[in-house]
Symmetry: C2
Subunit: 505 residues, 2 copies
Amino acid sequence: MYEDRVRRADLRDRIVSAEEAARLIRDGMTVGMSGFTRAGEAKAVPMALAERARRDPLKITLITGASLGNDLDKTLAEAQVLSRRMPFQVDPALRRAINAGEVMFIDQHLSETVELLRSRQIGPVDIAVIEAVAITEQGGIVPTTSVGNSASFAILAKKVIVEINLSQQAELEGLHDIYIPTYRPMRMPIPVVEPESRIGLPFIPIDPDKIAAIVITTKLDSSSTVLPPDDETRSIAGHLTEFFLHEVKQGRLTNTLQPLQAGIGTIANAVLHGFIDTPFHNLKMYSEVLQDSTFDLFDAGKLDFASGSSITLSKTKYEAVLPDLPRYKQRLILRPQEISNHPEVVRRLGLIGINTALEFDIYGNINSTHVGGTHMMNGIGGSGDFARNAYMSIFVTKATAKGGDVSSVVPMVSHVDHTEHDVDIVVTECGLADLRGLAPRERATVIVANCAHPDYRAALTDYVRRAQSRGGHTPHVIEEALSWHARLRESGSMKAGQAARALAS
Amino acid sequence: MYEDRVRRADLRDRIVSAEEAARLIRDGMTVGMSGFTRAGEAKAVPMALAERARRDPLKITLITGASLGNDLDKTLAEAQVLSRRMPFQVDPALRRAINAGEVMFIDQHLSETVELLRSRQIGPVDIAVIEAVAITEQGGIVPTTSVGNSASFAILAKKVIVEINLSQQAELEGLHDIYIPTYRPMRMPIPVVEPESRIGLPFIPIDPDKIAAIVITTKLDSSSTVLPPDDETRSIAGHLTEFFLHEVKQGRLTNTLQPLQAGIGTIANAVLHGFIDTPFHNLKMYSEVLQDSTFDLFDAGKLDFASGSSITLSKTKYEAVLPDLPRYKQRLILRPQEISNHPEVVRRLGLIGINTALEFDIYGNINSTHVGGTHMMNGIGGSGDFARNAYMSIFVTKATAKGGDVSSVVPMVSHVDHTEHDVDIVVTECGLADLRGLAPRERATVIVANCAHPDYRAALTDYVRRAQSRGGHTPHVIEEALSWHARLRESGSMKAGQAARALAS
């Protein structure tokens, strides 16, 4: 059985149940699991581990590529299996445990986790659990819908558990390009010079003796939770399109733009989707997650090639694309997230990076992660890898949240993930601010005028005026800089009137 | 005359006075000048320009490598020549003008300025003014004690003024390695694979027809303002040495460490100087500015090779090293700052980066630039290029400033230049905090215990406790997070008692 999926014969007697495989994971271990943006995560073994922990408590450090699907982070958090978690997550139950201080969450640039492991500054990884479509004749592991950190986990771990997922298309084989940088300080350049560059192997090469267990599974990836474009995200896309047309007119870009990166989520997806109705053509992507919009752009004849670390689609799109994979395969590569997000490659290719902000301030500093400056939402993910090194770094957000009670443009962000040095363009549905070559005082003027919601514009203008009267390169009324967040916490709204009403009542 | 310094004969009739050359610079122009950390700046032409501006006002955008010596930024600021200035400065008079909003200062990662120019996102450079020891037979420009952005300025500008400085040693020729990355998206890997890699030319290659004027000068570079090690900087060096010895013992580093980078300034210089009395050997540097400590380490037999973008020395060291240059030359390279600081190379080589903080917070976020969150000190310089991409990113500072009235460890930094993601180790004279693999709550505990000055430790511990009682991944009492800075502004001290006394009086 499974001859086509476990092609190396001597490994077939290592096929065991998920429960049996999970027994290899012991209390206190560091476990590296496949999975990136709800794609290609190991499914049966973590479920079995959570099941066991309910009877027989244990704690592990769990490292993945990025977020997991199938409610795995929820299940593991609720079974209290996680003592430490890195480098990214999106689950409400795990988020609650992180913010309560029950799970130590280490929020990392996605390209850096395996560098830290490789140099033994964190870790070591005791065991890796990797979802695969197949094990090759040589014992190589063929990943499924994501690569993430799986290759380095398998290479660095003492033991590897492979979950062969029969529901994942066998045709995924050949899509992956596994290249691992050499050790420092003797490292050679990473030879990616265009999104199409194939530089590695189509499987993860490890000593087959390290494969300690193989588990057969059939559960599908979870669908993407990205929402379809709405009026506001369409406006954001419209502002960006207009901006790019202007750049083309000025001769700074051509109609093929530069290779595109877009962060995960509704707004970035909508922006890319918006390129369908533009004169831009022969586009390429060099991104981390390939979403619905990637395939919409392929189908519209706009996109020539897409490189990523995972494919995360809505249910409808998944059912359209996956059975039709051979049609797209020649125009796709999935890479380790270390390579998809590598500063060296991002800078070399000259990406246009489009990422989502939770809030930004009048000087263009970005908060991507912390609600109210304190509570973790998801994590910085790959946004820092891209924003710092991109040809052009763009951040998008809706101008308000919580029905208008929260302004996404604030005097000072309550947490900084990206400094103004790494931010060229900010966009809301109200407009776009081009910050290139501007000093902080100039940035404040254009951000307030172009991006702030009308409900907050007067208050921001007043803040800017009073701050500037105190002087400074980056003027602030320091005792008032975070007062909008304090007001929100107390009254439920950043609006001064609301606060006054709340205090009066 | 000047046959050995202007070796291309047909250029010799372009030799003019500084005043005449300065006339090529007109109101509204963008000017790119050589100069990096007080080394190798053009000297006579900017002086003549300031002189002229006093009679006949004009404004320019001035872009350099980094800071200028010979009080040039002061002279230009006082003559009101500067409308815009980038990417770095250290001058008190210019600083005053920046903080008053009179000069628009654009504070950039030092590796990025020429990327923005090359892609025409800022600029264009109308004219370049470059200090040189010689012009070669082919018309190539041989820089002096710094490369900085000079090569790209000369290549991108419409016209070039060359200042031949007869006081700069002719033996500097051969020290430089000029390599400019190709245009994106068709860029090839930058082939630096070790600090010693020579990948370019020993001169800046431009069309000699662009050389519009040559000026002969004799003024020396200014001396470094770095102070000698004191008790506190020696303690900081001691903590770091102990830490590195521990890393070697753990097998994570060898006694040759990784290539070293150290930011400009007294503390980083003292830390490097401290390596003289350690078992570390065969060290290499891949840094931006080579200071006294580089040559101390050469002389002590500790250092094998140093790559930088400039040489900035104290008067004593300058007089010892420069006449003896042939002795050091085979172990030195000066590169464009784009290459000395390039994310691709920094990450590949796996640098240990040591940079100076103005203040850091309980979570390890770093403020390198803004006093009180508003007033520019110098600029971010290359610290971001190195901290983000290093094998290990270290920040050092004294635990207090202003005679103890300012704590360098605060609840929340008033300005963020480096986020906690980019900070592995923080050190004060009180101790060292190893933040690798720690979640924010854990970081707070170790930073307060190890790095805070005893005068502020109880207040920080109290803040941490009250913040954690509110929950969150990165707990804060948001309305109080910047209160230490507000108190300093009002009472002249971060100490609560001082503030109470000031309010009572």
